[in-house]
Amino acid sequence: MIQVNVKLFASFRIGRFDREIREYPQATTVADVVKELGIPEGEIGILLLNSVHVDLKRQLVDKDVLAIFPLVGGG
């Protein structure tokens, strides 16, 4: 198993959590995490893995920090 620090933001927090250390099997992808959390892929705006943009196919490793945002903007 690997431990991943999952952070959720904006509307994705509603009914879920702000941040949690979660355990996943080896070779888990970002898409697996998103699916497990029940987040529709189409609503995802930004995926940051250890502060770098990634796509859903990226495989996670132990101690990764994954931030998941809906499409947001401002300025």
Binding site: A10, R13, S51, L71, V72, G73, G74
Partner: protein, 580 residues
């Protein structure tokens, strides 16, 4: 909008007024109008606070019509902060009301020979310019309260606080919101100091008896507006994120991306970021009986603002924007929302740009004036020094560059004398190109590459690499210049970048209003024309390629957590204005 009001504040015997035909400016607006008039009429080498500078105020092409989101007002002049051309725009009610009064522009020129302070009241029948020295050194909130006793609530106010009267280079012009709070500011570049130099304390727009401006093709216009609103509402950013969390939703985004400039640009991640995030702010606003969703002008369908109450549930300030939360927050090592909200109120009240003010305070912290993270100290500097015009306050109110010089700080984040906003160019390389090359000095709104680099709206360009950033920034700067002419809020860029049908709806709005065919190429041509004029003005004012650069520390000091420097080469920056 077929007329221009020209007021010569320096006329012998007191200010004179003349109404001219709008001529070539009839079908223009906003930044296009202000920059064209400034480029044509203001000597580029004049002193910004002298009689030769002019303050030009212009509503957008679609302001005062039924078009949604059309409430931006532009103010132009030679900037006392940058020494170059300036266009600073704001929301609030002024654009709609001024446009319904039929003015394409108001030009304030000259300078009074006496030290009298003036107010200007404009209604459909006449323009009244009167001396009112009882307003001297009043700040914006009490000032508008006092003016309301005389002019009432069915008007729009544009005012300066004490900072504008003191001609501080960070001084702003406040525009009142629908509830008559002076909370929407033409903030950047010291436009408030130029109004102060003209000795105009307040402009009161009264559109009683005026109607909305009418389109040439009402049916097409109505249909276009419907499609436009639909497009704005269905996009996740303008339809959900901005209404619910405001612009401060970006604190967590930039912090997680490692691009949140912290403690005067020393690192890209702020430990206290979550405490001052948009999520935390919206929750607190609702808990205290404020609002997390509020529009700055009637006709806004995004409603990105809010109402921030203090812990006793009393109005403290409008919802501080992301840029403000950053400049007074992470940039200064401050992670307390109440402190930031108080500073936002003080800035609005005194009448200073929240970005310039916050950055100046952070630079002062770096110079040892107070410690990073000192909440009380930051409030004291703004309230008791800037707000009272002490020598220290005048240094801070002169902006980040002046503050850096005064306190011998090496790390001074400015371009062309204007403070950098809330995105570190080492992590968001595209916005670094905009900061370096914009005619306005460092200005994120001039070409918001953050959208494409970080938010993945309107495309995807890797924020950490220099490749593609100049092309990206160029295209965005051209498009933004055109949007700044329309009177549209820049946040329409999110849906129009992603949804071609919403962009078409905007073109149809413009086309059907003026009875012309408007294409994407026309928009690009307008953007290029205005940018070219602005750049020519800056060249004549003494700017060269060496001014289109970021401060050197961005090239030499790597920023954690990515440990990168700004890698776009100088030669590439020089290509920005090479368009065919």
């Amino acid at each position: 909008m077929d007329k221009i009001l020209r007021i010569n504040m320096g006329a012998s015997g007191g200010p004179s007024q003349a109404v001219e035909k709008a001529g070539e400016y009839t079908a223009l607006g906003g930044r296009a109008t202000t920059s064209m008039i400034v480029a044509k009429e203001v000597p580029p080498d004049c002193h910004p606070l002298g009689a030769e500078n002019k303050l030009v105020i212009a509503p957008g092409m679609l302001s005062g019509t039924a078009a949604a989101m059309s409430g931006r007002i532009s103010v132009g002049c030679k900037s006392p902060l940058t020494g170059g051309i300036k266009e600073s725009n704001a929301g609030g009610q002024a654009a709609q009301v001024m446009a319904r009064l039929g003015y394409a522009a108001i030009i304030l020129e000259g300078k009074p020979a006496t030290d009298d302070l003036y107010k200007i009241h404009i209604d459909k029948d006449k323009v009244t310019i009167s001396v009112d020295n009882s307003l001297k050194l009043m700040d914006n909130y009490p000032l508008v309260e006092k003016l309301r006793e005389e002019y009432g609530d069915k008007v729009a106010y544009m005012t300066i606080g004490s900072a504008g009267e003191r001609k501080m280079a960070a001084a702003s012009i406040a525009c009142s919101d629908p509830e008559l709070r002076p909370s929407r500011h033409c903030g950047r570049g010291g436009v408030g100091a130029v109004m102060g130099a003209k000795q105009v304390k307040a402009i009161i727009f009264d559109d009683n008896g005026c109607k909305n401006r009418q389109p040439k093709d009402p049916e097409k216009y109505k249909a276009a507006n419907r499609a436009y609103v639909e497009g704005i509402r269905k996009h996740a950013v303008s339809g959900e994120g901005l209404p619910a969390y405001g612009t401060n939703i970006l604190t967590n985004v930039l912090n997680e991306a490692g691009g949140y400039p912290t403690n005067n640009f020393k690192t890209g991640f702020f430990e206290g970021g979550t405490k001052i995030s948009g999520e935390a702010q919206a929750e607190l606003e609702i808990k205290r009986g404020g609002l997390a969703t509020h529009g700055c002008h009637r006709g806004c369908v995004i409603q990105c603002s809010g109402i921030y109450n203090d812990k006793d549930g009393k109005f403290l300030t409008k919802q501080p924007e992301y840029e403000t939360v950053w400049s007074h927050g992470g940039h200064c090592g401050i992670d307390d929302l109440d402190t930031i909200a108080m500073l936002d109120f003080l800035d609005d009240n005194i009448g200073v740009d929240t970005i310039e003010m916050g950055v100046a305070v952070g630079v002062a912290m770096d110079g040892g004036v107070i410690e990073f993270g000192d909440c009380e100290g930051a409030i004291r500097l703004v309230r008791d020094e800037v707000g009272k015009g002490t020598p220290l306050g005048r240094i801070l109110g002169g902006g980040a560059e002046l503050t850096g010089k005064a306190f011998a700080v090496e790390r001074v984040p400015v371009v062309k004398g204007q403070a950098l906003p809330a995105y570190d160019p080492r992590t968001v390389q595209g916005i670094g190109v905009t900061y370096a090359t914009s005619t306005m000095g460092a200005d994120h709104t001039a070409g918001y590459a953050v959208a494409t680099n970080i938010l993945k709206v309107g495309g995807d360009v890797d924020p950490l690499k220099p490749e593609g950033q100049v092309d990206l920034s160029r295209n965005l700067q051209i498009a933004t210049t055109a949007i700044d002419a329309t009177g549209m809020c820049l946040f329409i860029a999110f849906p129009i970048l992603d949804q071609p049908e919403t962009f078409d709806a905007l073109l149809d709005l413009l086309g059907s209003f003026y009875g012309i065919e408007m294409t994407g190429d026309d928009v690009v041509a307008l953007g290029k024309k205005v940018l070219t004029l602005e750049r020519e003005f800056n060249k004549k004012a003494g700017f060269g390629a060496e001014d289109d650069r970021l401060p050197r520390f961005f090239k030499t000091e790597p920023l954690a957590p990515h440990n990168l420097t700004f890698a776009v080469k100088d030669e590439e920056l020089d290509e920005l204005y090479n368009w065919s």
